[in-house]
Symmetry: C2
Subunit: 249 residues, 2 copies
């Protein structure tokens, strides 16, 4: 992990830009953090495009720092400034074509778009954990927050350092990911926008039903993809606080 | 409204037992309440049986008082110590027979059980509001909290003094109530127990979809009918606090 710059977007927050191999990312810590007190860490996931996503990621990093936690994000494969992967771009174009024509993409198109992203992104999040958890500032526990929900589902399944996930049911869900969800056992908080234009509500409900976790909450709110109400963010923050705060032991 | 007794279940809470006509009920206020400062009021609804429900109602009254609000509950028609209504009892027996045989009651049975309860209970809640809101201690705004969800839906539709409802999707939902829900416009917070044994998850989701409200949240948690997790109660409390606290004006 190579740190490029450090700044304070506001007095309470330290932001470091970094690259890990060729992956750009941002790391945020509460300005009050002491280096001798390792922090819980939240992986701030997003649908790709660090540039346009930056304002929303910064707001989520602020909310995470308010809990006393650090936060990290990286660019998705084949997004933002990263090199394009032809198979993913072809599948993305097929999705767009269907949506532009007013349709919902079929399972094959969704699989060819989402599954390669999952296969590439999950080891990258794990590499971020490898790099950060050897630094003295970060002790875990680790949470995953946001979309792409298929990536969060796979990561929750294969990465034991992730102990809680707040997922956003706002992207396409391959059928095989519903099967993988049955093996997920960590606590989950799933946000669903009830009127999300481009997504399949029934598949999202099916995914929620499939998760094997003993604690799982679905919070559905009226509104479209970007209309998540502010109180929903606060409820998600409380979920992470319950599961990532240090025990008294 | 005839007050029968007053006691303090704990130092922070005043409880008054009352009857309104022949309907028994309880009224709770924060012990710190001043008579010159009228309080918001939460109608604590329940599935019937004040005796067995009392411990849970008291816990909900405490949580409501912690918000600075008063709370009131009454017995449902044909429940607890109230006289039995033959048509309701026949329908209840038919529901039990179906459930005991391992089935789900059909729409006709549900209608004959729930709709008479709704028709009787809604004017009784309105009579409680008439009686309380003329007292100096209670100024509104008023919220409805809990099951029976069909009663809450009708009341939200016809009673303009109720400005927010936290509903529990834990009882049978007649089809006509789904239609009435389209005319409900107040903010809603709907709790759904994902694995509620006796209820129809799909009908509950259909009801949530039908509500006409511009702000509506569905919170579904893993677990059976009585397994609502404590954090879900806290989220519901925050919903009421947002909508019933006095504005600064």
């Amino acid at each position: 992990m190579h740190f490029l710059s450090e700044r304070r977007p506001d007095p309470g927050l330290v932001e470091r830009a970094f690259t890990l191999a060729d992956i750009p990312g941002f790391l945020w810590m509460p300005a009050s953090a002491k280096t001798w007190a390792p922090l819980p860490l939240v992986l701030l996931a997003h649908p790709g495009g660090l540039g346009p996503m930056y304002p929303r990621l910064l707001a989520r990093a602020r909310a995470t720092a308010d809990l006393g936690f650090s936060a990290v994000t990286i660019e998705l494969p084949s997004n933002g400034d990263r090199p394009r992967i032809p198979a993913i771009e072809q599948a993305r174009a097929a999705v767009r074509e269907t949506v532009t024509a007013g349709g919902l993409p079929g399972d094959d198109v969704i699989d060819s778009f989402i599954l390669p992203l999952v296969d590439l992104a999950v080891p990258e999040w794990q590499a971020v954990l490898d790099a950060l958890l050897e630094l003295p500032e970060f002790g875990g526990p680790v949470g995953y927050s946001g979309g792409v929900i298929a990536i969060g589902t796979r990561l929750a399944n294969v990465e034991s350092r992730v102990v809680a996930a707040g997922l956003f049911a706002g992207s396409y869900i391959p059928r095989s990911i519903v099967e993988e969800a049955r093996h997920v056992t960590i606590p989950l908080h799933v946000l669903l926008q009830w009127d999300d234009e481009g997504n399949d509500r029934q598949r999202a409900l099916e995914l929620f039903d499939a998760f094997g976790s003993a604690e799982k909450t679905l919070q559905a709110n009226l509104g479209g993809h970007t209309g998540v109400p502010s109180f929903a963010g606060e409820d998600a923050a409380r979920f992470f606080f319950r599961h990532l705060k240090y025990s008294e032991a």
